[in-house]
Point group: C2
């Protein structure tokens, strides 16, 4: 019976594909770059229309700071379980498209080549939202109504660290109440398994700035005038060594060590070292190799300190003999459960003072704590089981991702299990030029979400019975 139903869902998903692709392409044409504050109102209006076109209620929540949050609600249909609610978390903003010269096509003019759709935000996260709305349409067509209530929280500041999400969640806590949550992202690995996570790393995103003078100077004065770029380089060099060990005192404070069970789960994760090297075109061995570390453990359990960008002085072609007045670096620390981004900032400030870099100032651009769901919750098992039904190569579930999102505030406030899955693939290049998804993965994502929703009330009932027993 479930088998038969799955075949129906696949058939209906196929029929919905052309329409869903058209909607997605239109959505992708909006350059919704939160870091640059572009196209926000247009995108909010577009999202509201998409929800309403799919038969849902939409409400724009605004006025608590930052970009609006779109709340949407689809009630359970006749025969469905109106006591059970699934919440989808998505975001409508995207990363900046730079460096533009490396795109093979305009990042905001989606193109399809050999079944691959290229555009900024298609994998992260516009494709997932459109697939989820398509899954709702498929269920409505296949079953005449929805098996449970479905809610969406669609925010517009995920790519800058969701700095204003907490007040919205707190204010509208009852509106967003649900039994479980599907998070925004996911995709297939090099072996075509769908990769899902039940948690997320946190983040402390810092900007380090050194101002040495009020004007750029002729570089000949370097004989007696100090240099902001050298100051920043020397400050950075004290913060992390070549073995990827972070030398800032207190950085590792509070880290909750993984349980033996979590460690085992991570050691069972697939990881293709050669595939990773080939995918990115790496010029050096993995940095874990020098220390004999397991890259999977590093990915899930180790915090990081990454230079995401730095700039000083003249960066154009040829030579300009200038002594720059200032230098700036952007540093992204991925945190694990127990670490606190505010504490990280304080530790970096103390470190700079202690090492004599009073002229290098650290400011926080984004701080988020890490989160891990209870790995053994029946909802999580249900998502895994339905993924195994839909995806031929099966699925893989990690205790937490290497990436970041505002999962901590959801988990703390709404008290629900969370799994993240999505329609990406191994070459999706989220945050990089030529971001893409494959249309076949997009279609499978629609099927998985419809199939998961169809059995959702039943899975939760089993969970409740288990608790009562």
């Amino acid at each position: 019976m479930a088998r038969l139903q799955l075949e129906d869902l696949k058939q209906y998903a196929k029929e919905h594909m052309p329409g869903a692709i058209e909607i997605l392409k239109e959505y992708l044409r909006l350059p919704t770059i939160s870091a640059q504050n572009t196209a926000i109102p247009e995108t909010v209006a577009f999202v509201v229309n998409m929800v309403r076109e799919a038969g849902g209620e939409a409400q724009v929540l605004d006025g608590l700071g930052g970009n609006p949050v779109v709340y949407s609600f689809f009630p359970a249909g006749e025969g469905g379980d109106s006591e059970k609610t699934l919440l989808f978390y998505n975001h409508y903003d995207v990363q900046p498209p730079e460096p533009l010269e490396e795109w093979h096509s305009d990042p905001f003019n989606p193109v399809i080549t050999d079944g691959i759709l290229f555009a900024r935000g298609v994998a992260d996260n516009k494709g997932d939202l459109v697939a989820r709305l398509a899954a709702i349409k498929v269920l409505q067509k296949a079953e005449g109504g929805l098996p449970c209530n479905i809610k969406f929280l669609i925010e517009g500041e995920e790519e800058i660290g969701s700095p204003n999400l907490a007040p919205y969640l707190e204010q509208y806590k009852d509106l967003f109440a649900a039994d479980a949550c599907i998070w925004e992202f996911g995709g297939k690995d090099a072996e075509e398994r769908i990769n899902m996570v039940a948690g997320i790393k946190g983040m402390a995103y810092l900007e380090l700035t050194c101002i040495g003078a009020e004007i750029d100077m002729h570089s000949s004065v370097g004989a007696y005038v100090d240099n902001a770029a050298w100051r920043l380089v020397q400050a950075l060099a004290t913060m992390r060594n070549e073995r990827n060990e972070i030398l800032v005192e207190g950085f590792y404070d509070g880290m909750i060590p993984p349980t033996e069970e979590e460690l085992e789960a991570v050691r069972a994760l697939p990881f293709n070292e050669e595939g990773t090297a080939a995918l990115y075109g790496l010029k050096r061995p993995l940095i874990t190799a020098a220390k004999g570390e397991d890259p999977r453990e590093a990915m899930v359990f180790h915090p990081t300190m990454t230079i995401c960008g730095m700039v000083s002085g003249y960066t154009g072609e040829g030579s300009k003999t200038v002594l720059p007045k200032s230098a700036k670096a952007k540093i992204d620390c991925r945190l694990v459960p127990g670490q606190d981004p505010d504490h990280i900032l304080q530790c970096v400030e103390r470190h700079l003072e202690k090492h004599g870099f009073h002229d290098v100032k650290a400011t926080s651009l984004n701080g988020q704590k890490a989160y891990r769901s209870d790995y053994s919750h029946p909802f999580i098992q249900h998502v895994v089981a339905t993924a195994n039904d839909v995806y031929e190569a099966g699925c893989v579930l990690a205790p937490n991702s290497a990436g970041t999102g505002p999962m901590f505030i959801f988990g703390e406030l709404l008290q629900l299990p969370i799994v993240s899955t999505g329609v990406g693939w191994v070459k999706s290049k989220a945050h990089a030029p030529n971001e893409s998804i494959r249309l076949e993965d997009f279609e499978q994502g629609i099927v998985h979400m419809a199939h998961m929703l169809a059995g959702f009330p039943e899975a939760l009932k089993l969970a409740a019975e288990k608790v009562e027993a």
Copy 2:
């Protein structure tokens, strides 16, 4: 008699000012950025017209690589000494104008405010060329002809290190033959003294590049993927310490130590530490202070290693969580006599290898040796004496400048004494936004060059008699 003549020259210079300013403004509208290869042919044509309009012959030398060199010749007039020749060295190219947002006016649309003319290249070096041509017109008007032959070498690649000048000088050695040379630049210090130099530092301008991968990556992979920006930072940190000491083995090789006479001359130079700090808006003490060094000695006799620019990953507003595929730094080493830029590059390459930075590649963008004239030559004394006649606050002559130019190849090939002087002032901001000259300094520069030229044959005759005696 000389006194009277000087007053005449001043009067004629004043009369020539409006015309000279118009020519200069037109010249400054050409964005002749050699590093970006813009407006070269238009500027060459403009320079040729300027020379011809002043009554000189002009010849465009081309075909030996790089931008054309303009040669120009003004013969001695009746009653002048046609056996004596003075050579002016100038360049028609300018530095890139970036950062554009810091200019108060368009860098290529000259504006005059309170007697100050703002534009890219006005101090370095377009203003000097126009002043020298105006001095020739003044002499022609005041004396009915020129006191000696006058030649110009006006090149178009000084701001990128004159990489193609040597072949032109070698090929046209006889054309450029002269008894003495006035170099391109100079200006007044905070005490209004005209600062001149009889030599110049050399340069090794290097670009350091680290490529870590073929694409930018999501920063979450920082747990196991090495980072080009960190690699470059760590490589740079091994090359120079916080005390401005260069740690690259062999960097100081071959340095010719200053003579006691040169040291004394430098110790007698004015240097206003507070004025320097205020001029640039420095946020920290001079880097010489920590070691108790004399900044004047550092300026003239110490080689430097300056980060002129660095860039990696995302450098825009806000946060982008990317692990950059590459990182780049531009490094400018100012060299003293005896140092060799090719040797410097080799030392840096060896240093990077030795410290394990096989992935950081150094390439040379510009290499020039340093030069010092014979400080006691009568021509040099003549330039000083005439400067003292013209400039109320007097003049200062250093054995060599802190800046760089292709003086070494002139000195080696043409065997002549060289002094550099010009129309800049203490706030000229060469190479920086809001570059400027004061019109009164421009006028005095015209007078000084005319006055210097008027007495030039006599000064050289005295020198020859001295040698014979």
